[in-house]
Assembly symmetry: C2
DNA sequence: CCAAACAGACTAATCGGTCTGTTTAAAATA
DNA sequence: TATTTTAAACAGACCGATTAGTCTGTTTGG
């Protein structure tokens, strides 16, 4: 792996494959040809296909959380609720350009959550990490009077993200993001203080 | 199929298998042993595995829509918003008892929506059918003053169901329905007229 | 010179699907 | 009603393709 292959890149390619086609629907031959590896190289670097998946999930978890923390960090002159809305809008808008890959946590929860304990564990944790990254921004929006402050900010973040996942899943079949955008807009409208 | 096997039952068993393990993760041998069929019997009754899936989806679509129509039909002395909440609560509460199967439309959208046109089509249609079944009850809740009447009832139904799907997916990994129940409650709280 | 990285042929198991019969139930004939 | 005919239902061995993973080398960099 040190010689010809960059583990970071290999994991990223696997992540993309798993997200767009699903874990079970991507074989090792496809992984190898997509990464330019041979089986020898792959199994020298990773214990198994499942272990490889867990590494891609770990990488997704890390970069995803960092990204959310960055995007939703307090920004002068920008309302927290607008940051939240922009974040989710962007994530939905970008789907057609990324082959409707959606979110790896959501995808793997759906495909393997009920039949693989390891995946169930890391995806549950991944979801929690996301919520913890979103929650501070929700809290600010509540302080700024744009989101109803009567409810727990973590629960509100969970509601936002759960709806977001439902929207992402539907977009896969629709091959479109328009309805999902409307749904997300409507949620935000209803969460605002009246 | 007429002699020894009841197609209705076979399709129902397949539906359960596909929902709890996913389409790709269920092989024909498993389908055959679960239904007590042989390959000869199976391929005499169904064109292919994919065709079998489409039949199970059609059956799910039909019975699911009928069920929603029944459960959400106007009921004297019961508020529409309570019917909606009870419906979604029940669907979430029952998950531990049904192996966290979730909803077939959601599951197949997630697993195959982006890679199989036929499945994408029927699941999109299935979602639409659900919304059309939920929408009248939302409309009544709006008339009764329990859901904000400022927004299109179909969009509101879509929001409800999208969140529901996000919750179902997460429940698979959590192996629990409690957090999902709270999320759904919170959504209802925020949709009520203030 | 040595251990890690890599190449890729190979394996056993499983995949969806086919094929050749055999059974069966009902229609046609007597 | 009894017998024959026929097509659908069924059984399950079998098929080529593919699966994840292994094993025996060979290359490579320190």
């Amino acid at each position: 792996m040190n010689v010809k292959h960059d583990k970071e890149k290999v994991v990223q390619i696997g992540l993309n494959l798993f997200c767009s086609k699903g874990y079970t629907n991507v074989g090792l031959d496809e992984i190898c040809s997509a990464t330019g590896m041979t089986k020898g190289a792959f199994y020298n670097a990773f214990e198994s296909k499942e272990n490889f998946l867990l590494e891609t999930l770990a990488r997704f978890d890390k970069s995803n959380t960092e990204r959310i923390n960055t995007v939703l960090a307090p920004k002068k002159g920008v309302k927290a609720v607008d940051q939240l809305f922009e974040f989710y809008s962007y994530m939905i808008k970008v789907q057609p350009k990324v082959n409707f890959m959606g979110c790896m946590v959501n995808n793997m929860m759906s495909e393997l959550g009920a039949i693989n304990e390891n995946v169930a564990h890391v995806t549950s944790k991944g979801f929690e990490n996301i919520i913890n990254a979103v929650e501070p921004c929700v809290q600010r929006a509540q302080h700024e009077g744009d989101i109803n402050p009567d409810y727990d900010s973590k629960e509100m973040a969970t509601l936002l993200h759960s709806t977001f996942y439902g929207v992402l899943t539907r977009a896969k079949s629709l091959g479109s993001n328009k309805k999902g955008l409307k749904t997300m807009e409507l949620l935000f409208t209803n969460l605002k203080t009246k």
